[in-house]
């Protein structure tokens, strides 16, 4: 356990974040985009846990925040999927390219 240094964990979480960001920007499928967002959230969670564990082992703040984020992510996923379903009802598609009503 203590064999893994903090920097390694941070590198993992950074990779995870940018993979999520990249996926969010490039995938056209809304479900895939939602998943990318979850990736980014989870990279943040990893950061919280890691900093809490390595820097302030006596406190629980990071853990509490992580639990908050997981709960919010669940709620957010529900809202996002509801939006996606509504969009699908209107446009018969869940492709982000088709949802361009903002333009006109």
């Amino acid at each position: 356990m203590s064999g893994v240094p903090l920097t390694h964990i941070i590198i993992v979480s950074t990779l995870l974040f940018f993979i999520g960001a990249y996926g969010f920007l490039t995938r056209r499928n809304l479900i895939a985009m939602l998943m990318s967002v979850e990736l980014m959230l989870n990279s943040v969670n990893i950061n919280f846990i890691a900093f809490n564990k390595y820097l302030f082992p006596d406190n629980l703040d990071g853990l509490v925040y992580t639990i908050f984020i997981i709960a919010i992510a669940a709620a957010e996923a529900a809202v996002a999927i509801a939006i996606i379903i509504n969009l699908f009802r209107n446009t018969r598609s869940i492709d982000a390219e088709d949802a361009d009503q903002l333009k006109n």
Binding site: A21, F24, T26, A96, L102, K103, N104
Partner: protein, 651 residues
């Protein structure tokens, strides 16, 4: 307060007929207009009676009956609206309302059945209101406003038959030419009021005539191009008057203005509006006569040249209304130079009285001539002399009244024109011999062309012959029988005006109107009268010889002096000169460059700004793609940028 009703009644009629006339009041529009004007005319006659007859004392003073400050600029400069009574304005009140009443009455028959009958009466009322407002002005700016209003009503009435391109062109021409002249008038007003520090007539006259006045010294003292400011002001004011009164060389609009209905020509372009220029000079006469004789000399020469010039053209025209138009111009020329030869006060003021006298008598016989011509046109449906001839049997009343008017304008005693013309000639004799001979010659030409007109309409051919062209035109023949001489409403004004044309000359005019308000005994010497009468008779005899029966003598004479005849027939090519100056010179040298600048530089600048914005907009338009992920990318970039900023700045 009765006084105010004189102009306000026609104004109320104008509003009523203008707003509701066409829809609701069309059948009774004429009756309404005529009745309200009848009341106006009676009130003016009553005003004249109480002003002139019930007057006590030696001098007629000017009375400001009502005055309202409308636009005060400073302590002593303000634009007032008011009602001033003095001898000339009271005389003009009578002339305007009486002639206008006659024209209203006459139009009942003449314009009957016209589609825009109510509009016609609305315009007539507007004109009458404006003219009355003009003559009673207390303020030089008030006169300017009403001046423009009569210009507008004249424009509306000339262009009354707006489906006729020539009428539209004529109304535009009249409007533009008089407006050009009014520009001078406005500048003149500004110059005079700048130096006199007032717009009020009595104050203006007092300040610019009193020899010890500092205002006068300043007006004479400052000069521009070698003439004093006072001269410039008066000359420019006269320019406005010359435009309205159709003086050479601003006369070109008047003959074309005959495109309007004939009663309108009688009212506006013969008896009232065109004498507004004379009235204006008469209103400011003390300033002209006392302070600036140079400007008065200009008035004199302009008048004399116009009188002669128009009389010569009138001899060659074949459209009867155009003959009358040129004769009007010629007679107004008479009034102008009569003012020009006059001096201020006492015996010197003879020309002033004579001018106003001629204005008064001219209004009657010229309105009569036009209304008579209108009756002829109403019957023949043509303005051309060649379509007429031998009408004396079929239109007896028109014939007699027309003859009376011709005798009056020719200056044969005892008709009205004789007396006024005689006064003008004696005034000219006393002042300037050259002018006298021009006037005398013009009087002869006047008699000649009036009788040329008279014989061509009423004699010349046999009545049987003149039927032929009418029958050939088919429907005209039946119209002809139906119309006859016109309705009684058309004959009564002719009769009333012919009574005026006979008797107006016997009014002792000098007792009422003079340059300084004192009574002036008009000298009448039989020896002075011999020459004018002889010249007039010679003119009449010549016309009788040439035109009484149909012959080719006149054509031979015209052929003998073909150069002169042709140029007079073409009105001495003044219109062409104007066209040349405007089209060839002004358009090419001023108009085209201005248009080029407008199109390329002004419009170019506006278009350039627009296309620059367009180009920029196109550049940044693609950012707003409407795609969520693009916006997310911008958001990331933004956050990244902020993060970098935060790291480098906060650290």
């Amino acid at each position: 307060m009765n006084l105010l009703l004189i102009p306000l009644l026609p104004f109320a009629t104008f509003l009523l007929l203008g707003i509701f006339g066409r829809k609701y009041l069309s059948p009774v529009a004429g009756i309404i207009g005529t009745t309200s004007l009848l009341v106006s005319a009676l009130l003016s006659l009553q005003t004249a009676y109480s002003y002139f007859i019930q007057h006590t004392g030696e001098v007629y003073t000017s009375i400001v009956a009502w005055k309202m400050t409308w636009l005060p600029f400073s302590q002593d400069v303000s634009i007032d609206i008011g009602f001033m009574l003095d001898p000339i304005s009271v005389m003009m009140l009578v002339v305007v309302t009486v002639v206008s009443l006659m024209v209203h009455l006459y139009s009942l028959g003449y314009m009957k059945g016209d589609e825009r009958f109510a509009t016609y009466y609305a315009f007539l009322s507007l004109f009458t209101f404006s003219m009355l407002g003009l003559v009673v002005s207390v303020n030089i700016f008030q006169i300017y406003m009403f001046w423009e209003l009569v210009g507008v009503s004249s424009f509306l009435l000339i262009g009354y038959y707006f489906d006729k391109p020539s009428a539209v062109a004529a109304s535009k021409k009249a409007f533009i030419v008089t407006r050009f002249a009014d520009l001078g008038f406005l500048i003149g007003i500004l110059i005079l009021s700048y130096h006199a520090h007032t717009l009020d007539f009595p104050t203006l006259i007092q300040r610019l005539t009193a020899s010890d006045s500092t205002y006068l010294t300043s007006a004479i003292g400052s000069s521009f191009l070698g003439l004093s400011a006072l001269t410039w002001g008066l000359v420019l004011v006269f320019m406005g008057g010359a435009g309205k009164s159709a003086m050479f060389p601003l006369h070109i609009w008047l003959p074309d203005a005959m495109e309007g209905p004939t009663p309108v020509s009688a009212l506006i372009h013969a008896a009232t509006m065109v004498v507004a220029g004379v009235f204006l000079v008469a209103r400011l006469f003390p300033i002209y006569a006392i302070s600036c004789p140079g400007a008065l000399e200009l008035v004199m020469w302009t008048g004399a040249i116009s009188a002669m010039f128009a009389a010569i053209i009138a001899c060659t025209q074949t459209d009867i209304k155009r003959v009358l138009a040129y004769s009007t111009m010629s007679q107004i020329g008479y009034m102008m130079f009569a003012l020009g030869v006059a001096g201020y006060g006492g015996e010197n003021g003879l020309g002033f009285t004579a001018s106003m006298f001629h204005l008064f008598t001219h209004a009657f016989f010229k309105a009569l001539l036009f209304l008579g011509a209108g009756a002829v046109i109403h019957m023949i449906h043509s303005n051309e002399m060649k379509d007429m001839g031998g009408l004396r049997k079929s239109m007896p009343i028109t014939h007699i009244t027309f003859l009376i008017a011709c005798l009056a304008i020719a200056g044969i005693p005892p008709f009205a024109g004789f007396f006024s013309k005689e006064e003008i000639l004696s005034a000219a004799w006393n002042a300037n011999k050259t002018i006298y001979y021009i006037a005398l010659l013009t009087a002869g030409i006047t008699a000649f062309y009036m009788f040329r007109l008279y014989y061509n309409i009423f004699w010349s051919k046999d009545s049987s012959k003149h039927e032929t062209p009418n029958d050939a035109k088919g429907h005209h023949a039946s119209d002809h029988d139906g119309h006859g001489e016109g309705t009684w409403t058309m004959k009564i004004p002719l009769l009333i005006l012919s009574i005026g044309a006979i008797t107006a000359g016997f009014i002792p005019f000098g007792n009422f109107v003079s340059s300084d308000g004192h009574h002036l005994h008009l000298p009448f010497e039989i020896t002075n009268a011999i020459m004018p009468i002889a010249v007039a008779l010679a003119g009449i005899l010549m016309a009788t010889a040439l035109y009484k029966t149909e012959n080719d003598k006149s054509d031979k004479i015209a052929a003998a002096v073909s150069g002169l005849y042709k140029s007079a027939y073409h009105k001495f090519y003044i219109d062409e000169v104007y066209l040349f100056v405007t089209k060839k010179i002004l358009f090419n040298l001023v108009g085209r460059p201005a248009a080029w600048i407008d199109k390329n530089i002004v419009d170019g600048a506006v278009n350039g700004v627009a296309s620059l914005v367009m180009w920029k907009a196109n550049l940044i338009k693609s950012i707003q793609s409407g795609k969520v992920q693009d916006y997310a990318l911008y958001f990331y970039i933004g956050v990244f940028g902020l993060a970098v900023l935060a790291i480098y700045l906060v650290k």
